[in-house]
C-alpha cells in the first residue's frame, strides 16, 4: 500500500528547516523497516526476544563507536526532551540525595525549552537555585560568569548543563572550557547535543562530558527515539518507574526497529560529518552572502559565519530582516514553497519573542523580525537559489504589511 501525500504547495518544496527535523536517510529507513514486522520483546528470554535484544545491542554498539562512548553508557529514550529531563532531574536528585548541600544548577540563558523548562520546574517545585548565566551578543556563554558562579561555592553545585550548539542561532558553546572549570570540583556536566551530532566533530570520551543528549530525527533517523549518553560512574535517579530496562534508570519496552534506524543514521551522519559540514557550510555562506546582497539591511544573528565551523553550526543561517514580522515572512515564503522557521516551534503555534535572541541583547522588535534557515543533508544549491530569488519581494511585502498594521 502506498500513502497518498498531498504537498502543501504546487511545485517543488524547498525544505530549509533541518534544525526542526531532517529527512530520514535511506539507510535508516531500511534498517528500521527491516525489523518492523519482526516479533520479539528485547527482554523476553526466548529466541524471538533474544533476536530483538540483539538488534538493540548491535545498535548500541554502532552508536557507541560513532560517538566514542562505551555501549553501556547509552540509555535509550523517546528522544531529546526525555533525555534532557532524565539528565537534569535524574542527576540532580541523585547528587542531592548524596549531599543535601548541593542545591544549585548552573546553565545558560539560551538553552532549548527541553532544558529550560525542567530547570524552571525544579526551581519552582523543589526550590532548586537555578542560575541562567549570560551569553555574549553571539549567544556564546560568558565563561567567566560561569567560573565565578562555580567558585562562589563549588560544593553547592549539583550539576552544570550547557548545550553543545544552539538550536536557534547555531552558536557553539565553549564546552571544553566548561568541562575544565567543573572538573576540579567533580561537578557533573550535561550537554544537549541534539543539534551537534553529525554536524560538528564530537567525541564523548575525549570531551570529558558526563551526560550527553542526542535524538534521532535531527540526524536522519526516526522520530521518537534518542538517547542519554551517561558515564557509568554518574548516578541518575529514575523518572518513570517500571521494568528498569535501561540500566534501571529508564523503563519501558525498547523500540528495537526505531533504535536500529537511529543507529544506522548516527553511524552515517558521523562518518560523513566532515564532508557534510564542508558542503552545507559553503551553501550556507552562499545563502547568507546572496540574501544580504538583495536585502542589504538583513543581518546574521549568532556567531559570525566567517569564524567557521569552530563557532557555528555549518547549516544554520539565522537572519534578521528589520521592519518585518518573522511570521509574515514565514507565511509568504511558505506560500512559495520555501519552508523555514522563526525560531523554535511551540505547541500552540503562537510566536513568542525568542528567549535566545533576548538573552543575546536583541530588542523585542529584533527578536520578532528574524528567520532561521537551516540546511541539511538534502539541501542543494537550487534551494539557495530559490531563497535568493524569493526573499526580496517577500521582505518588501512583509514590510508593507508591517507599515499598514501600525
Amino acid at each position: 500500500m502506498t500513502t497518498q501525500v498531498t504537498p502543501p504547495t504546487t511545485g517543488r518544496t524547498v525544505y530549509l528547516d533541518h534544525a526542526a527535523t531532517t529527512p530520514m536517510r535511506p539507510v535508516a529507513i531500511e534498517a528500521m523497516t527491516a525489523h518492523l514486522a519482526e516479533v520479539g520483546n528485547p527482554n523476553s528470554l526466548h529466541a524471538s526476544g533474544r533476536n530483538a535484544r540483539r538488534v538493540v545491542e548491535e545498535s548500541r554498539e554502532t552508536i557507541a563507536q560513532a560517538l566514542n562512548c562505551r555501549p553501556g553508557e547509552i540509555v535509550f529514550t523517546s528522544g531529546g526532551t526525555e533525555a534532557d529531563n532524565l539528565a537534569l532531574k535524574g542527576i540532580f536528585w541523585a547528587r542531592q540525595a548524596a549531599d543535601p548541600a548541593r542545591t544549585r544548577i548552573l546553565t545558560t540563558a539560551v538553552e532549548h525549552h527541553a532544558v529550560l523548562d525542567p530547570l524552571l520546574w525544579l526551581a519552582e517545585a523543589e526550590g532548586v537555585e537555578v542560575e541562567f548565566l549570560p551569553v555574549d551578543r553571539y549567544g556564546r556563554l560568558d565563561v567567566d560568569a560561569m567560573r565565578i558562579a562555580v567558585e562562589r561555592d563549588p560544593a553547592s553545585v549539583a550539576l552544570i548543563s550547557v548545550m553543545w550548539a544552539n538550536n536557534e542561532v547555531g552558536t557553539l558553546q565553549p564546552i571544553d572550557e566548561v568541562v575544565a572549570l567543573a572538573a576540579p570540583h567533580a561537578i557533573p556536566v550535561h550537554t544537549d547535543a541534539v543539534q551537534a551530532v553529525g554536524a560538528v566533530p564530537l567525541d564523548f570520551a575525549a570531551s570529558g562530558i558526563d551526560a550527553l543528549t542526542f535524538t534521532g530525527h535531527k540526524l536522519g533517523g526516526p522520530y521518537g527515539v534518542g538517547a542519554l549518553v551517561v558515564r557509568r560512574d554518574v548516578e541518575v535517579s529514575a523518572l518513570a518507574h517500571g521494568g528498569g530496562q535501561e540500566r534501571d534508570i529508564r523503563s519501558g519496552t525498547l523500540d528495537a526497529p526505531a533504535i536500529a534506524g537511529l543507529a544506522a543514521a548516527a553511524e552515517l551522519a558521523v562518518k560523513q560529518q566532515a564532508d557534510h559540514a564542508a558542503r552545507i557550510g559553503v551553501l550556507r555562506d552562499d545563502l547568507v552572502r546572496r540574501v544580504i546582497e538583495v536585502v542589504p539591511d538583513a543581518h546574521v544573528h549568532g556567531a559570525p559565519v566567517e569564524l567557521g565551523q569552530a563557532a557555528r553550526l555549518p547549516g544554520n543561517a539565522h537572519l534578521g530582516f528589520p521592519d518585518c514580522e518573522g511570521d509574515s515572512l514565514l507565511m509568504l515564503l511558505d506560500a512559495r514553497g520555501i519552508e523555514c522557521s522563526t525560531g523554535s516551534a511551540c505547541s500552540s503555534g503562537v510566536p513568542q519573542p525568542s528567549h535566545v535572541l533576548l538573552a543575546m541583547g536583541c530588542s523585542d522588535e529584533t527578536a520578532r523580525h528574524s528567520l532561521r534557515f537551516s540546511l541539511g543533508h538534502t539541501s542543494t544549491g537550487a534551494d539557495v537559489d530559490a531563497v535568493v530569488e524569493a526573499i526580496s519581494p517577500v521582505v518588501e511585502r512583509a514590510r508593507s504589511a508591517n507599515r499598514r498594521a501600525r
Partner: protein, 380 residues
C-alpha cells in the same frame, strides 16, 4: 480573490472558510491568539482563545485543505479591547467588547495585515449579508436567520472595511451550517456556541473586573439607594452593575409596593448605585457619539435601532447632529465616514438602555451605521 479566513475553532468560521474555498477563492486560514497566556482565558468548548480552540481551527483547516497559521494579536487585543472594557466599566458604562474587537482587531489589525500581505479580503463566520447596492456600494443586511443575526456587532464597519469582508454564512440558518459541517467532515460540527465574553474565563464579569481593575476602579464598594436616596444595601464595586440589571442586587428589604427593582443609575466616583421600579427605566431619547457609517451618511433617517446584542428593534428617528473632528486616515480601521454625533428619538420607550452599548441603526434589514450610547433620557 486571495482570502484570509479568520478561524476561531468554532463551527461557523470553519464552514465560512470552507464556503470561501467553494466559491473559488484562494483561502488561507488563520487563528487569532488573543491572550499571551491562553490558559487564563476561557477554556473548553465555550471560548475562542484557548489552545484547544487553536487546535480545532487547525484541524478544520486540514479538512478543508488550506494553509493555517496562528497570528499573535494579543498585544493589540489587550490594548484595544480588554483595556477599553475595563476603562468603560470603571466609568460606569457597559461596553460591548465583541463590537470593539470587530472594529479594532478583526476588521482593522487583521484586515490591514492581510491587505499588506497581498490578500484581498477577510472572511469570518458572522451571520450577516453583504449585497451590492444601487449606487455600487456594499450594503450590509441582517442575516436570513434572524435568531443568529450578528449585524449588530458588525455595525461599526465602514464601507472600506465592508469592501474587503466576506460573510459566507449570511444566507443560512444555524442548523444548516451545522449540517453542512457534518457533511464536510468537520469535527467541530456539534461544538457548542460560544457565549459571553471570551476573556472572562468563568463568565463572572463582576468578579473578573474586581480582580483586574484594582486601583483603576474608583470604588470597590458603595451604597445601593432608592430614588429618594435612602440606603437599601451595600455593594462591592459599582462596575458590577449595568443599567436595567435586576438580578444580583441582594437587597435585604423588599420594595414597599413589592415590585422588583432595577438599576437606574450608576455613579462611578461615589460608587452610588440607584435602584427603582421598571417604569423608571423607560427612555425615548438617546445621544450617540463616535458614529460610524457603513456607507453614505444620512442627515435624517426614519428607521429602526437595535440597542443591545440580540435586542429588539425599536422604531426611531435618527438625526446626525454634528460633524466634529475627522478621524485620522491611512488604515481601514479609521478615516472616512467617522466622527458625527447622533440624536435618536424612539417612537416607543425602551427599557434598560445602558450607556456604552452601541445603538445600531437600520433601514429595513440594511445596517446604516452605529453610535455609542452616551446619554439617555425621557422626553415625555
Amino acid at each position: 480573490m486571495r482570502v484570509i479566513a479568520a478561524m476561531s475553532g468554532g463551527v461557523d468560521s470553519a464552514v465560512a472558510a470552507a464556503r470561501a474555498v467553494g466559491a473559488g477563492h484562494d483561502v488561507t486560514g488563520i487563528h487569532l491568539a488573543l491572550s499571551r497566556n491562553p490558559a487564563s482565558y476561557r477554556s473548553g468548548a465555550r471560548g475562542c482563545c484557548t489552545i484547544e480552540d487553536a487546535n480545532d481551527a487547525r484541524r478544520a483547516a486540514d479538512v478543508i485543505g488550506i494553509p493555517f497559521y496562528v497570528w499573535d494579536l494579543s498585544e493589540r487585543f489587550h490594548e484595544d479591547v480588554v483595556e477599553d472594557f475595563m476603562d468603560e466599566y470603571a466609568a460606569g458604562r457597559t461596553p460591548n467588547p465583541c463590537l470593539r474587537c470587530n472594529e479594532k482587531i478583526k476588521f482593522a489589525a487583521v484586515l490591514d495585515r492581510a491587505l499588506g500581505l497581498g490578500f484581498d479580503a477577510v472572511a469570518t463566520g458572522h451571520y450577516a449579508q453583504l449585497r451590492t447596492g444601487g449606487d455600487g456600494g456594499i450594503e450590509m443586511h441582517r442575516a436570513v436567520d434572524h435568531g443568529k443575526d450578528q449585524s449588530y456587532v458588525l455595525g461599526v464597519l465602514t464601507q472600506e472595511q465592508l469592501a474587503h469582508s466576506l460573510f459566507p454564512l449570511g444566507d443560512s440558518t444555524k442548523p444548516d451550517v451545522r449540517r453542512e459541517a457534518t457533511d464536510r467532515g468537520l469535527l467541530v460540527a456539534d461544538k457548542p456556541d460560544s457565549h459571553d465574553i471570551c476573556f472572562v474565563a468563568d463568565g463572572d464579569n463582576a468578579g473578573w473586573l474586581r480582580e483586574k481593575l484594582g486601583d483603576r476602579a474608583m470604588n470597590h464598594e458603595g451604597d445601593i439607594v432608592d430614588e429618594a436616596g435612602e440606603v437599601l444595601g451595600r455593594h462591592e464595586g459599582s462596575y458590577g452593575f449595568t443599567i436595567g440589571q435586576r438580578r444580583g442586587l441582594r437587597l435585604g428589604v423588599p420594595a414597599a409596593d413589592g415590585k422588583p427593582r432595577f438599576v437606574l443609575d450608576i455613579e462611578p466616583v461615589s460608587g452610588t448605585v440607584t435602584v427603582g421600579p421598571r417604569e423608571r427605566l423607560a427612555i425615548d431619547r438617546i445621544t450617540g457619539t463616535a458614529a460610524r457609517w457603513c456607507g453614505t451618511v444620512p442627515d435624517r433617517l426614519d428607521g429602526t435601532v437595535q440597542l443591545r446584542a440580540h435586542g429588539d428593534e425599536h422604531r426611531a428617528l435618527v438625526t446626525v447632529v454634528s460633524a466634529s473632528s475627522t478621524g485620522s486616515t491611512g488604515s481601514t480601521g479609521e478615516g472616512g465616514s467617522i466622527a458625527e454625533d447622533v440624536e435618536i428619538e424612539l417612537l416607543d420607550p425602551a427599557y434598560g438602555i445602558a450607556p456604552g452599548q452601541a445603538a445600531v441603526i437600520y433601514d429595513g434589514t440594511r445596517v446604516v451605521g452605529s453610535a455609542t450610547i452616551a446619554a439617555t433620557s425621557r422626553a415625555s
